[in-house]
């Protein structure tokens, strides 16, 4: 028994080794086993979920095995810095350049250190909430309180996607009520649980959260200590409008639109409103072969043209958002430049 098993194993391994060597060096193409590292260490989060959807579609289209590894930002960046042959690529979201703009350790300028690949989806759920019993009804009242000199405490995770909405609010107060932006105070917390807890403890007036994680809290009765209310979704209204009409839980798309621009106005520069979509995109090694970039662009173009992936994405509350590499790079450069101005104003 042992011997036969061993024989089979050895034979299988020999055959496998030969085929994989064959394809790896035959032509410039993704290897039979492609690895996608993601910028999050969680396999339960949105980055993993979004990447898993794309990976499955890619595996089928290219006829290869695609593995998603939740290694986290720092390790992910180090890996694609080291591997240029296309056997490892990375998927991350706006944090990739926001981490750099906020000057966090472990983040380089992604536009010079890596190559920006195609974008695939938006998570439209980035939200700000107050306690259901909060005296503040909306963002306007929160900003007015600041203008009147009352401290408004905002629970965020510092240095990225969770902080950008807070920075935008601060910037809007600076524009509309110069000198009062100091009254908007950050309460630095970690996970969503920590941010919720800050509200339960009475240490935060406003918290960063998401439609997905916090929607059920908004449906609790007001006398429940845990009850919350949405006041702002940072996504563009054009993004939310693409979501399925049933929205999330009992909160329909129509109801969500009441919390987005233009219904909620947080000015970016005095003339237009600030919005932030959390967008997922690929990152490559700077020297990865152009042929591979083209191959991935082509494959994704065909996948999105077929139209099935969009249904899967929308079912999981992602908004499809495909842009080929070149277009994505120009788009994210512009997006980053706009946010750089906001953060520059607050220094």
């Amino acid at each position: 028994m042992k011997k036969t098993m061993f024989g089979i194993a050895l034979a299988a391994c020999g055959v496998f080794a030969m085929t994989s060597v064959g394809t790896a060096f035959a032509e410039t193409s993704f290897p039979r086993n492609l690895r996608i590292v993601i910028g999050s260490k969680s396999t339960g989060g949105d980055t993993y979920q979004n990447t898993a959807i794309v990976a499955e579609a890619l595996a089928e289209k290219l006829g290869i095995n695609v593995k998603v590894d939740a290694v986290g930002g720092s390790t992910g960046f180090n890996t694609i810095k080291r591997v240029s042959n296309g056997s490892v690529i990375m998927m991350f979201h706006d944090q990739a350049y926001l981490g750099y703009l906020y000057g966090k350790k472990g983040y380089d300028n992604p536009f010079t250190e890596y190559r920006i690949g195609p974008s695939v989806a938006i998570n439209p759920g980035n939200a700000y909430l107050v306690a259901k019993k909060s005296p503040y009804q909306n963002v306007e009242e929160l900003m007015a309180a600041c203008a009147a000199g009352t401290d408004v405490r905002v629970a965020i995770q510092p240095g990225g996607v969770s902080e950008i909405g807070y920075s935008a609010l601060k910037n809007a107060i600076r524009i509309q009520h110069p000198g009062k932006e100091g009254c908007l105070v950050a309460v630095n917390r970690g996970s969503q649980s920590d941010k919720n807890q800050a509200m339960f403890d009475g240490l935060a007036d406003l918290i960063n959260g998401s439609v997905q994680a916090n929607e059920q809290y908004t449906r609790l009765p007001a006398d429940d200590q845990k009850a919350m209310r949405f006041v702002w979704l940072t996504a563009r209204d054009a993004t939310i409008k693409q979501a399925n009409p049933e929205g999330m839980g009992e909160t329909s798309r129509e109801m969500l639109l009441a919390y987005t621009d233009p219904a909620v106005s947080v000015t970016q520069d005095g003339s237009k409103n600030f919005t932030f979509d959390k967008e997922f995109f690929f990152l490559f090694n700077k020297d990865m072969d152009q042929k591979l970039v083209d191959e991935l662009d082509q494959a994704l173009t065909e996948i999105f043209a077929a139209g099935d992936i969009q249904k899967t994405q929308k079912k999981s509350f992602f908004i499809p958002n495909f842009r080929p590499s070149a277009e994505a790079e120009a788009y994210f450069k512009d997006k980053a430049a706009q946010y750089e101005v906001i953060l520059g104003n607050l220094k």
Binding site: A9, C13, F16, S20, V21, P31, N33
Partner: protein
């Protein structure tokens, strides 16, 4: 504690604190907060070393002089070949694994190919009775174990290996 009015997160303060508030007040600058706890631990480490020098060291030295104990690393058996051999083989194992693995990206073959000779070498190093039968068993184990691990983990469960 669950008061949700803005600016009311203040807990009740006891009398002894009201009497001398500055004694218990700690302000943490968020930008420097990564150093706060390490500083405390450094001071505690220092304190502990001093305490050990004061309370433990004299007794230890007395026992050492009396011959009840011996200095670390000076007594006991030391099988230099097996000990240094283990370290050397393991370092070589760890160095070659990713290197070989890079020839077969994301297949786990680096692990499989390098584990077989490593296990065989380590087993032979540890083996006292190097009869033909024993050597055969050792080599058999060195081949079967990594192959099974690789088949189950890398192939069946798609776990990333070097």
């Amino acid at each position: 504690m669950g008061n949700l009015l803005p600016g009311s997160g203040e807990p009740l303060r006891p009398a002894w604190e009201l009497a001398m508030p500055e004694l218990f007040t700690v302000t943490i600058d968020f930008e420097q907060s990564h150093l706060f706890f390490p500083h405390i631990i450094h001071w505690m480490l220092l304190l502990m070393v001093v305490l050990i020098l004061v309370f433990e060291a004299p007794a230890y030295l007395r026992r050492l002089r009396a011959g009840h104990v011996s200095l670390p690393f000076t007594r006991g058996p030391f099988d230099a070949v097996r000990f240094m051999g283990t370290l050397l083989l393991t370092v070589v194992y760890f160095l070659t694994m990713p290197w070989v693995g890079d020839f077969f990206p994301n297949t786990g073959l680096g692990f499989l190919i390098v584990s077989i000779p490593y296990m065989a070498a380590l087993s032979l190093l540890y083996l006292h009775d190097r009869s033909l039968r024993q050597v055969f068993l050792v080599v058999l184990n060195a081949v079967i174990a990594p192959v099974v691990a690789w088949l189950v983990l890398a192939k069946l469960f798609a776990i990333t290996l070097p």
